[in-house]
Symmetry: C2
Subunit: 302 residues, 2 copies
């Protein structure tokens, strides 16, 4: 199971009932954050999800509503006793932005590794691995979208182990990913493990216009989390001007990309009740949900 | 009347029921903020106090729990339509800190004037004037305390005007602070205005050890707002180590300074219910109140 929480679902400015953009992915005790808007720490505390195990922070772009909470969170993570390095991924210019913001938290008890504008897949964690891909979006600042692939380890296959003449005392070792050797024979994990199994793909796309490349990027996503800054179709001119999306535009991407589910977030502060516009998305892509602060979702492997 | 609101009363990290340090002073439609911790904007919005009329932001020091909310607030003020310049006052180094934080809000529709480490009284607003004094505190970063003097305009004095032979058609002009001239005679406001009247003095002291100089600085304050990071007397070693104060130390300053009222704020996140320690302050200085988020106080002129 992979657990997610929308820590904040607002765009622009924080509201009493809607903090600013942040998504938390929690898998096997390791946490990945996408964006750190104002209120992120408060939502984590309300949920009771500790900050010490935040290993990776992915920043979509350097606008305040996506990053203002970063220096405070880094300080709190420092106070939590973390000493292991922390990775921050972000678009072009992210290193300069972090350097600027760290003026108020110059000393931290852990190292920060910054990956700016990654062009290749980033593979995280040896056990329970997660891979991250990014794509360039179309916003008023350098902005990237994220895919998270949570791989599912293959099952132990007894028949295959017997067929490959693997001695029983090696089974456990190989199942854990190690290599065995005995009397000149080498035993590999793939000699006892079954077929690759489908993992989970989570896509996070905010802030952008609905460019063509997104369709391929979010293809077959288990969960496609997408900005829906404007619910009302009449706000399309605003969406175009401010380089955001309407609900129906997000839904068109979900449909074209054959996503399993669409979760909308990043609502304009002018939109008090995003729910009233949900049909604008559902008539294009039925399996659409309107996010809200501290909404939790658990995704199961197939 | 002067209205105040504690927008956040926490130190260290934001909590669900306690945002980080911020005080709002609202007088005659102009607003002064002291510190902008995370949650400041949300509290202002809950209170329904708009951001456009924030004219002055006083920063005590550059620690995250006092300044993280600044760039987001500056952006929201920009979106509110403000074009008038905004003044930021702070300790030594504040200009560099603001430059760093502004990496995420490089463009604002108004000018920011920064007054770093002021050594003289700052006089604000022509009508309904407020004066600001600062003092250097004893913390782990350059940190300053603030006094706000809200002057009370003298009353129009009919007898004095008659005694000084001021023609009636000049009374209104002089009352508004202007000078009149007729047939070689000069008429000044002080020829029609009564005695100076007592104003209101608000002192804000956070974060610091209780150094001797504070007593004189907060002398006769109408309201002395002071950090009380630790309520429990047993936490004195922590207060000394972290350069903060216990409730009783803050109360000793209030007593020595002959303040009228002490309002405690900036509570350690480890202290869930500051109220249970209030007697530690009251046995030293009786008129002590424990602050809480969005507590409003109105101070009347005598």
């Amino acid at each position: 199971m992979v657990d997610l929480a929308l820590l904040g679902t607002g765009g622009g400015m924080p509201m009493p009932s809607r903090f600013l953009s942040s998504l938390l992915i929690n898998y096997s005790g390791r946490k990945i954050l996408v964006d750190v808007g104002e209120g992120t720490q408060v939502s984590m505390r309300i949920l009771g999800w500790g900050v010490k195990s935040v290993d990776v922070i992915c920043i979509t772009h350097g606008h305040g509503d996506h990053i203002v909470g970063l220096p405070g969170l880094l300080a709190t993570i420092g106070n939590s006793g973390r000493v292991e390095p922390l990775t921050i991924i972000g678009p072009k210019g992210i290193e300069q932005i972090i350097t600027g913001l760290r003026v108020i938290v110059p000393y931290l008890p852990y190292e920060i590794e910054i990956i700016e504008d990654p062009k290749e897949t980033i593979d995280l964690f040896k056990n329970n691995p997660i891979s991250i891909d990014t794509m360039e979006l179309d916003h008023s600042a350098p902005c990237i979208g994220y895919n998270f692939y949570i791989k599912r380890n293959p099952k132990f296959d007894v028949e295959k182990a017997i067929k490959n003449n693997v001695p029983k005392h090696f089974w456990n070792l190989l199942q854990k990913g190690n290599v065995g050797e005995e009397e000149g024979n080498i035993y590999l994990p793939e000699m006892v493990m079954g077929e690759e199994r489908n993992g989970i793909k989570i896509s996070m796309i905010t802030d952008t216009r609905p460019i063509e490349e997104i369709k391929k990027f979010v293809e077959d996503s288990t969960l496609f989390i997408c900005e829906g800054t404007y619910g009302d179709e009449d706000d399309l001119p605003k969406a175009i001007k401010n380089k955001h999306m309407t609900f129906s535009e997000a839904a068109m991407l979900a449909k074209a990309g054959n996503a399993k589910e669409l979760l909308l977030t990043h609502f304009s502060p002018a939109m008090i009740e995003p729910e009233i516009y949900v049909e604008n998305a559902r008539k294009v892509f039925y399996n659409t949900t309107i996010g809200y602060d501290r909404m939790i979702k658990s995704l199961a492997f197939e």
